[in-house]
Amino acid sequence: MELKLTLNGKRIIEEIDADLLLIDFVRAHGCKSVKRGCDTSGCGLCTVLLDGTPVLSCSMLAARADGHDVRTLEGLQEEAADFVGFIAAQGADQCGFCNPGFVMNTIALLRENPDPTDDEIRAFLAGNLCRCSGYDGQLRGIRAYLNAKKREG
């Protein structure tokens, strides 16, 4: 079937198989930040934004993205740059494998709720697994970013 979508601002029209998954489509188009962590819809590493909504690209047919806007971390560098330094400063990234999914879902969180409580951050990021840390570093990093933003006014 013919798939038409926008990937990181670029219009793409391509002939695809019906069972092609969105993760394999975006990786074939160079978006290697999108990875398989679990392949059972549980880890959040393959998160992309579909019309701004975070979804698991390992569990979605590419065909279902037809006519939609798909964003990966490659297309959101500027928005990510705002806060990733704060997370790194807390030493939250150890192996770093979970980072792209975390960053994508944090972008979605902050767009929806620019001033979340710690519980709201934990709840929104609960579907992003990290095997190295206890999630506290990520939480401290996001909190530090929000505090810095408030100080700037």
Binding site: A18, D19, T40, G44, L56, S59, A63, R64, G127
Partner: protein, 266 residues
Amino acid sequence: MLTIQNYVRPETLDEAWECNQNRKNRILGGMLWMRLGRGSINTAIDLCRLGLDTIEESEEEFSIGAQVTLRQLETHTGLNRYTHGAVRAAVCDIIGVQFRNMATVGGSIWGRFGFSDVLTVFLALDTAVELHRGGIVPLAQFVTMPPDRDILVRLIVRKTPGAVVYLAMRNQRTDFPTLTCAVSDLGGAPRTVIGARPGRAMIVPGLPALPVGQWSQDAISAYAEAAAAAVPTGSNVRAGAAYRSHLCSVLTARALTQLGGINGWN
């Protein structure tokens, strides 16, 4: 691994129904459970063009399209006002936000899964399902029907005055539930639903009547013990049957106590 030969987006329910009569074809919900299975699908049927992705609220009822996501259930103001947040409580620990943005209420209910938080909470409400050919069927009846080739179009939740409380036990926050429990009071006697037994959610039969205003701690304890005795439980990787039966009485008592509080407050 799942293979799919063709993908279609029917423009009408009749077209979708016709296509679904072929046993090699499947309707897609969120595709989250389906993709974990093996097999070959000839044509995957996506209902995305049928306008089933909204929750409509009238004075009498909520009409919830089959393609509404669990996240929509979680964030819908009217539905959560009516249920005192019980619908949000039922879905908010299911995997993660990204998962809930994809999983559909139609897929959850159609699957009649044993682990379903969604089925548990809607069984405690005055809920019916609309099937394209089968018409409107009470949810309690639908869960006992064998899967066929019909299409679940929407859920109808009547706004019967009352209250509902949802509780679940999970070994870890985003895991499958070890036991689910919803207790409602929609006028008359409370209705208690237990799921993840690990069998499919059921309305607990034969419980003592608890007249309004007589929910003493003793009456609640006796009711909860009766619920635990009436609900068949089993063992699996998450818990043993005896532990589940214990959870059944604890969660039922807690839910009833909360429900009594909501009723008293109102």
